[in-house]
């Protein structure tokens, strides 16, 4: 019974980690501009993420090391430092986007501009990290994120043509706007394959004291949780294809995305969209802030745990305090969170090789993995993901300039 509860909570947590402002905005833009044609990008991103998250959990359960710890030990400080710079810069931008997403949710609910919400929202996120435990952050925020199921309800109510939708699962090129199509595809992959999610997941496995007996549970959580998250993203795309595309609405602003749910659910759709984005972004902001603090603490060998009181892991607590404070500044200044989202998703794609290449080595290292090393299937998938990540790294910035 305890294990079933753990699996259920794990799946819910995965959903909370998957759906955030990046995945919603990129999926909504894809559906509004190209109908079902970009569903394959979400499918591909989800499949990659299932394997990567499963490996993150397995590494932690078997070796009792997080990805960052193992990476520093296996590749040394200079390599760790390069990854630290890349990952923290990108994760910081994603954090700005998520805090902005919470602010924008309050803006459409209250009419008060998001810059006014930046400080109180950041304070609330920080306060939860300061006083809360890992369990509260992992499970509490994610349970609230379940309101995002409204996107599936909205998609079904709009009666999609399932055979047309299924044809979108096979990649095809559009006749026009090829650069924009490419940019959105890259952004969807950047939003799906989020390295911070892997760092958070492996740290969570250590916080929850996983051992080798958790390997089957980890497989279920990664498989079902990420699939559920991917289905939610696909529901956003399908809803956008049916609700926004016929009206020629391109999702350039957050309030346009609210039309996703209001078409299918006229009475409650607006509030459900606002609450979905609020909780999803809130959960993601907590996870990213923690992931950045974990990165520093684990890499430098500091004491770290979200369950300790802040003075017991002072440097860890100071990192998330400073990061949240810094992330609030551009929002108070009025930077557009949607633009930050799109840039940060493309940059995530550009830095993917840094996060994924070390994985191939770590998951085949007998010292860390023993008999639980990667098999041929997992290695083939990582090799494919690495190939994709290098292609994304090369094309993401030019596509950002031409098609963004």
């Amino acid at each position: 019974m305890k294990k079933i509860l753990q699996i259920s909570l794990g799946i819910v947590t995965s959903v909370g980690g998957f759906l955030e402002i990046g995945s919603v905005m990129t999926a909504a833009q894809a559906g509004a501009a190209f109908g079902y044609q970009l569903l394959w990008a979400i499918l591909l991103g989800t499949l990659c993420l299932i394997f990567l998250v499963e490996m993150s959990g397995r590494l932690a359960a078997v070796s009792k090391h997080t990805i960052v710890e193992a990476m520093r030990e296996r590749f040394g400080f200079p390599f760790f430092f390069i990854v630290l710079i890349g990952m923290v810069l990108v994760a910081f931008m994603v954090l700005v986007a998520e805090l902005g997403g919470i602010g924008l949710s309050f803006q459409i609910l209250t009419g008060i501009g998001f810059p006014w919400w930046a400080a109180p929202v950041s304070l609330l996120v920080w306060l939860l990290m300061w006083k809360g435990t890992f369990g509260l952050i992992e499970n509490g925020a994610s349970l609230l994120g379940l309101v995002t199921i409204c996107f599936i309800v909205a998609a079904i109510k709009l009666r999609p043509d399932w055979s047309s939708a299924a044809s979108g699962l096979v990649p095809t090129m559009p006749h026009m706007d090829k650069a924009h199509y490419g940019f959105i595809a890259v952004s969807i992959l950047g939003a799906s394959i989020s390295p911070y999610l892997m760092y958070f997941y492996s740290s969570g496995a250590i916080e929850d004291k996983w051992d080798e007996s958790y390997i089957p549970i980890n497989r279920l959580i990664a498989g079902l949780g990420m699939t559920f998250g991917g289905v939610l993203s696909m529901a956003v795309l399908v809803t956008a294809a049916l609700a926004l595309r016929p009206r020629g609405i391109q999702v350039d602003a957050f309030d346009q995305a609210a039309l996703l749910t209001t078409t299918a659910l006229p009475k409650w759709g607006f509030y459900l969209f606002a609450m979905s984005m609020l909780f999803a972004c809130f959960g993601a902001a907590l996870e990213i802030s923690l992931a950045i603090a974990y990165f520093f603490a684990q890499g430098f060998g500091w004491n770290w745990s979200e369950d300790l009181e802040p003075s017991k892991d002072a440097r860890f607590s100071l990192v998330y305090t400073i990061i949240i404070l810094l992330a609030a500044i551009p929002l108070v200044a009025g930077i557009d969170p949607v633009k930050v989202t799109m840039v940060s998703m493309a940059l995530t794609a550009a830095t993917l090789p840094l996060a994924i290449v070390p994985f191939l080595f770590l998951m085949n290292d007998p010292i860390y993995m023993g008999k639980h090393r990667n098999g041929w299937l997992s290695n083939s998938v990582v090799a494919i993901v690495i190939l994709i990540s290098f292609v994304l790294a090369v094309i993401s910035i030019p596509l950002q300039i031409i098609g963004g």
């Binding site: 710890e69 300061w130 060998g301 004491n303 802040p310 003075s311 017991k312 002072a314």
Partner: protein
């Protein structure tokens, strides 16, 4: 033992399993008539930054003189204190007495404990 693979960059734990940083560097004694041997583990200070570029080490040392516990020299732990070298390196020392936690203690006392809810540093 492969020093780079099995020792360098590993996590250091004191006798109470308290994390006290990572093996940022190793000091080797090379005598004229004796075999080279590892004498000390170096933690923090400019040691890890020197491995990236000397400019980073200089910048780090400058910043450390301006702010914090003003410790600029890396901590040196004699190799004789190493108890086990496995997944982590276990040392027969108390982390607080080595200087490896100077920054942790300084940040706790000067910043974290001054914020409500930050908690109190445990008295020895």
């Amino acid at each position: 033992m492969n020093l780079v693979r099995d020792v360098l960059d590993k996590k250091l734990l004191d006798r109470e399993d308290c994390p006290m940083g990572r093996v940022d560097g190793l000091v080797m004694h090379v005598g004229e008539r004796s075999q080279p041997r590892i004498t000390h583990i170096r933690i923090g200070g400019s040691t890890p930054w020197m491995r990236v570029h000397p400019a980073f080490a200089k910048l780090g040392a400058k910043l450390a003189r301006l702010w914090g516990p003003r410790r600029t020299e890396p901590v040196r732990i004699p190799w004789s204190h190493v108890v086990t070298a496995g997944r982590d390196i276990k040392l027969d020392v108390k982390a607080r007495n080595t200087g490896a936690l100077d920054w942790e203690i300084w940040i706790a006392e000067h910043i974290i404990e001054r914020i409500p809810g930050g908690g109190q540093e445990e008295e020895e």
